[in-house]
Symmetry: C2
Subunit: 243 residues, 2 copies
């Protein structure tokens, strides 16, 4: 975590910008975003960065230096080690020149995010500070209008790419769960939920907190139209969850 | 979710105010807090509300009507149904009179919070909006300086009051986990971690994001000094976690 800014080096901030609604960034994230001269963020190989779009109302027109970190968005291609190697050198040059860098992360930086790949490369040599953010999972509970977990419930986060047998085994023992990174894995997951008799206890949520937010029973989802950033919430007991 | 404010009734906002640092409330939480004429929040039977203290820099001196919802903080006494019955009537009177009410929740309103008890009583009769917040779990990852979960890790949230056998069984199959509501259950949990050979893979975190934040190896924790709002993070694989 050394050297500090006081000796002339910049600080790298890993900033959670929340699930999508620009108003769901924290006051701290907003302050650091406005103060940093260099802003970096994940982006697809071509086109607009969803992460940058979250803060566009604050960032547009400021004239800051922006560094889109472009890589394939497909989970199968992660981690793109050479991209992180190159990015850590580029950001390090700014820090060595005394410029703070804000690296924006959708949701929270350390919860299934890509920031850890930069953190592991840079935290020994530079001052790095993590600013936690609102996870899309909490946004999913708000969209559904039902508690994710309560009292002594266990709550399990399950990545959608896991094999069907593992998803089924873990759902069998969970009180409540969220399946993330649904995308192209939707049909496999629907099959697991059906075989586990959990369809009526599950809800599909996409683009939580955006104007295009959508909450659907599993049977009404078009499997061809499921984005990577979607989730399925499952609860075995909560009254609000029963169809 | 009806009636709406346009017909003269107020809206009840369930607002997550984050883990403790006043700067980790969202812009939306701040806006609604400043706009609402009536502010309610959980509080102990006697003394200061930790939830209110998070927003004290913004709330102090505004002269808003404040409603501390006082109840025993001990998990064993939850839920205090009569307190929620009475509070829902009190808040409903404000809403019927056209006054918006902001109900403040530590962390996120629907993630192991008490707001669900008011939501279940009031959502049929009033307009209720949930504002998700930063969970203390994400704050714990930031305090530790290590990713909570990555790629296809599963991540399990385990309440500390669960029996030792259940904690052990769930930790045996988890990739990464957080044990919440540690408090008086610390010695039981330490025993489970030792028997599971997970002590070197675990970290104790208390008061994350506050100035008194503290991260300790399990063996260095004084069991007599563990607050209810503390957590233990466990990760089977992450390099940063190994003592």
């Amino acid at each position: 975590m050394t050297p500090s800014t006081t000796n002339g080096f910049g600080t790298l901030y890993g900033i959670g910008v929340g699930p999508g609604d620009p108003e769901l960034i924290t006051l701290k994230a907003h302050r650091l975003l406005m103060a940093a001269p260099v802003i970096a963020f994940p982006a697809p190989i071509e086109g607009e960065s969803f992460t940058r779009r979250i803060v566009a109302p604050y960032l547009d027109g400021t004239g800051k230096e922006e560094i889109p970190v472009r890589m394939p968005m497909s989970a199968d291609r992660f981690p793109a080690q050479e991209v992180y190697d190159r990015t850590s050198r580029e950001l390090g040059a700014h820090l060595n020149a005394g410029r703070d860098v804000a690296y924006l992360c959708q949701g929270d930086p350390f919860f299934y995010g890509s920031f850890m790949y930069l953190y592991s490369r840079m935290a020994d040599d530079f001052r790095v500070e993590i600013v936690p953010g609102v996870s899309s999972i909490m946004a999913g509970g708000a969209a559904l209008g039902a508690a994710l977990a309560s009292r002594n419930d266990t709550f399990t986060v399950l990545p959608g790419p896991l094999p069907a047998e593992e998803l089924a085994a873990r759902l069998a023992t969970a009180d409540a769960a969220v399946i993330i990174k649904v995308g192209s894995h939707f049909e496999k997951i629907r099959g697991v939920l059906a075989a586990s008799d959990l369809l009526s206890r599950s809800r599909y949520i996409e683009r939580a907190t955006l104007e295009t937010e959508c909450v659907l029973p599993i049977e009404e989802v078009d499997p061809g139209q499921v984005p990577y950033f979607s989730m399925i919430l499952v609860h075995k007991r909560g009254d609000a969850w029963k169809t």
